[in-house]
Amino acid sequence: MSRHIISVLVENEAGALSRISGLFSARGYNIETLTVAPTEDASMSRMTIVTSGSEDVIEQITKQLNKLIEIVKVIDLSEAEHIERELMLIKVRAGQKEREDMKRMADIFRGRIIDVSDNTYTIELTGDGAKLDAFIKSLDQGSIIETVRTGASGIGRGNRVLRA
């Protein structure tokens, strides 16, 4: 079992997302995260799917995705050099006592405080999944009020591109 990041270019048509998520559930494949949004070409969306499985399962996943009529291209980003980023918004307790510490912690992780109230901070943090996990772990668990994560987006390094 290893973690893979699959990037998919798909026709921007109604139902394409459910075709893809349906394929994963019907065939028992894992989805850790799935993100999707239109690209610079409005007729296409790009999807990043983080999944895990044996090499055989990952091979089947890419083949089965390719079989879907609306899918234009599929690559396994994790096969080569790539960059992965995820955005997290995390709301934490920040009363008089904790304010200083919390600010320092956010700085260490290069997070930005984007909203402040009497007793909370909302911190924006970007990075790969492991970095976001590390930030959560480094906090006193009782101080976390709410978290929301986008799931990973990925892109190949250098000249490695995914285009129609």
């Binding site: 798909v10 026709e11 109604a14 139902g15 459910s18 075709r19 349906g22 019907a26 055989d56 091979e59 089947q60 083949k63 089965q64 390719n66 079989k67 009529i69 609306e70 899918i71 234009v72 129609a164």
Partner: protein
């Protein structure tokens, strides 16, 4: 060529015009509220003929049988809601066996979608996992291109059913109509040619093989590659086996044919699969009913070459050494060119071994029985029809016996639901076969349980005078269920006995056909001869057969391909 100038047409007119453009001869369907305008347009023309079934499942199976027995696309037309849900079994059946089909479904008007309207269901959602593709057409301007796409997708690459869902208001809206000659899709471009380097490697392996085996499936039939396969097998002099879906691709009466393989395949075919050193798999998918337990199959080392149009069929259950993705006839043409004047290894020792396995006579049964043995009926069916019939079947023991005992020499003659295993398939499929092959001999081999799942279609057969010969192997049990219960559930025949069976002769007569019951082995041949001599009549032959007969050989579920239960072991 001058195309007719564009005209303004309603959506319903466009549907019919598209069917005409695709040269569709028959549409199998059942009317209802959401498709009334389409039916109105059907009424106003006579190029596309409509066959009115008695249940939507029958419509889709009939379109399926029509397609399997010809090289054409089957077309079905059903209404929204229950029309669609009734069609689902038929669509899933076609999907599992990769049958090219276009299913047009009515939908509630666009403004009512999502409001739980009368006879509304999420057709695209329900059918999504059982179609090659589906589309909801919300704008009449997209209708013609959606229809073109549907036929294009259904018939190219690995074929399959495509559903086009059309809301009622789209059938009344109008737009300029012109039917596209071609359709270009950046996201869908099936390959044709195989990779030349891979083909070379494959040929090298074939020429070095000492214990070769050729294993072919439904892909050879669907790809119309039977003649290339025959040439290849002859040129190489290798043994060949067909899957349940592939029967007829290689002539069953030829010496190089080892019979069907798999769960109820022959001893020699299964043994040769396990012990070969080079396996050439063509248009087959190593499914669980074919190679049994993959771990057991992997115990013997062998090189595997796999030719298939669908990359996802390759290395799905069994790792292969030389994958070749491509259109089967194209790939085989290339292979044939490369082996033209090459010499193969001496395979005489291998053939000697195969003949020893053949000596087991694994399909033997009690020929002296006083009760009709189902195998005997099928042997006689083969003799009486001279092996020339189209044979459809339902699902269960009768299906396996038909596959074992009817020696198909031609492709597209054996029509059965191999993948999904749909009881109720045989009779409606036979209707499609008759319409696709006027004047041909068509038999539906079935059992008393399966036939009752689509029995209502006897009425359709009456309306269109479809002279199907129904060979009902009546053992009063869901035979295959009973067999599993005998072998694996301590003879506890839980709910597999068919009590309160109808008098099939009377039922058939009630529908306006001829019914005959046969209960003595001595009467079997005469009954078949008499039935098949009645060219214009449907005859229902109700054979009262041995209740406890089993299908042998049998590989129990989860066991290896050579771990067969044989008749003689008992």
């Amino acid at each position: 060529m001058d195309r007719i100038k564009t005209q303004t047409l309603t959506g319903a007119e466009i549907v019919i015009r598209c069917l005409q453009e695709e040269a569709v001869e028959y549409v199998f369907g059942y009317p209802g509220g959401a498709v009334l305008f389409i039916y109105d347009e059907l009424f106003k023309q006579d190029k596309v003929k409509h066959v009115l079934v008695r249940h939507e499942q029958g419509a889709v199976h009939a379109a399926d049988g029509y397609s399997r027995s010809s090289q054409k696309v089957g077309v079905a037309l059903v209404t929204s809601g229950p029309g669609v849900t009734n069609a689902v079994t038929g669509i899933a059946t076609a999907y599992m066996d990769s049958i090219p089909m276009v299913v047009i479904t009515g939908q509630v008007p666009t403004h009512a979608i999502g409001l739980d309207a009368f006879q509304e269901c999420d057709t695209v959602g329900i059918t999504r996992p059982i179609v090659k593709h589906n589309m909801l057409v919300k704008d009449v301007k997209d209708l013609a291109s959606a229809m073109k796409k549907a036929f294009h997708i259904a018939t190219t690459g690995r074929p399959g059913p495509v559903v086009v869902d059309i809301p009622k208001d789209v059938t009344t809206a109008t737009c300029e109509f012109s039917y596209p000659d071609e359709i270009a899709m950046r996201s869908y471009n099936p390959v044709r040619k195989g990779h030349p380097g891979q083909i070379k490697k494959a040929v090298q392996l074939l020429l070095e093989a000492k214990r070769p085996m050729i294993y072919t499936g439904g892909g050879v039939v669907l790809g119309n590659a039977s003649s290339q396969l025959r040439e290849l097998v002859k040129q190489l002099g290798f043994p060949c086996t067909n899957t349940l879906m592939g029967l007829g691709a290689y002539p069953a009466t030829d010496r190089q044919f080892l019979g069907m393989l798999g769960m109820h395949g022959t001893y020699e075919a299964n043994m040769a699969m396990q012990h070969c050193d080079v396996l050439l798999a063509i248009g087959a998918r190593f499914d669980d009913r074919v190679i049994g337990n993959p771990a057991h199959f992997a115990q013997n080392p062998r090189k595997i070459i796999h030719i298939d149009i669908d990359p996802s069929s390759i290395s799905k259950r069994v790792k292969v050494d030389v994958p070749i993705v491509g259109n089967i006839p194209d790939v085989l043409d290339d292979v044939l060119k490369l082996i033209a004047d090459q010499k193969t290894q001496d395979t005489s020792a291998w053939w000697k071994q195969i003949d020893e396995w053949r000596g087991k006579d694994c399909l033997k049964y009690d020929r002296k029985s006083k009760i009709i043995k189902p195998q005997f009926v099928l042997e006689k069916l083969y003799e009486v029809t001279k092996g020339e019939a189209f044979v459809t079947s339902d699902v269960g023991q009768h299906q396996m016996w038909a596959a074992q005992f009817y020696k198909f020499d031609k492709p597209r003659r054996w029509i059965n639901s191999g993948g999904l295993g749909t009881m109720g398939f045989g009779l409606p499929a036979a209707m499609g076969v008759v319409l696709a092959n006027p004047g041909a001999t068509v038999a539906c081999v079935t059992g008393e349980s399966s036939i009752q799942m689509c029995l209502q279609e006897l009425s359709t057969c009456k309306q269109y005078r479809l002279p199907i010969k129904i060979v009902n192997l009546n053992n009063k049990y869901m035979g295959m269920v009973r067999q599993w219960q005998q072998f694996f559930h301590g003879n506890r025949y839980s709910e597999s006995y068919m009590d309160a069976l109808p008098d099939f002769v009377k039922v058939t007569e009630g529908y306006g056909h001829r019914g005959v019951q046969i209960d003595k082995p001595a009467d079997v041949e005469a009954a078949l001869k008499d039935a098949f001599a009645r060219k214009d009549e449907l005859v229902f032959l109700d054979f009262i057969t041995d209740q406890k007969e089993n299908v042998y050989p049998m590989i129990p579920g989860g066991k290896g391909i050579t771990e067969m239960i044989l008749y003689e072991d008992l």
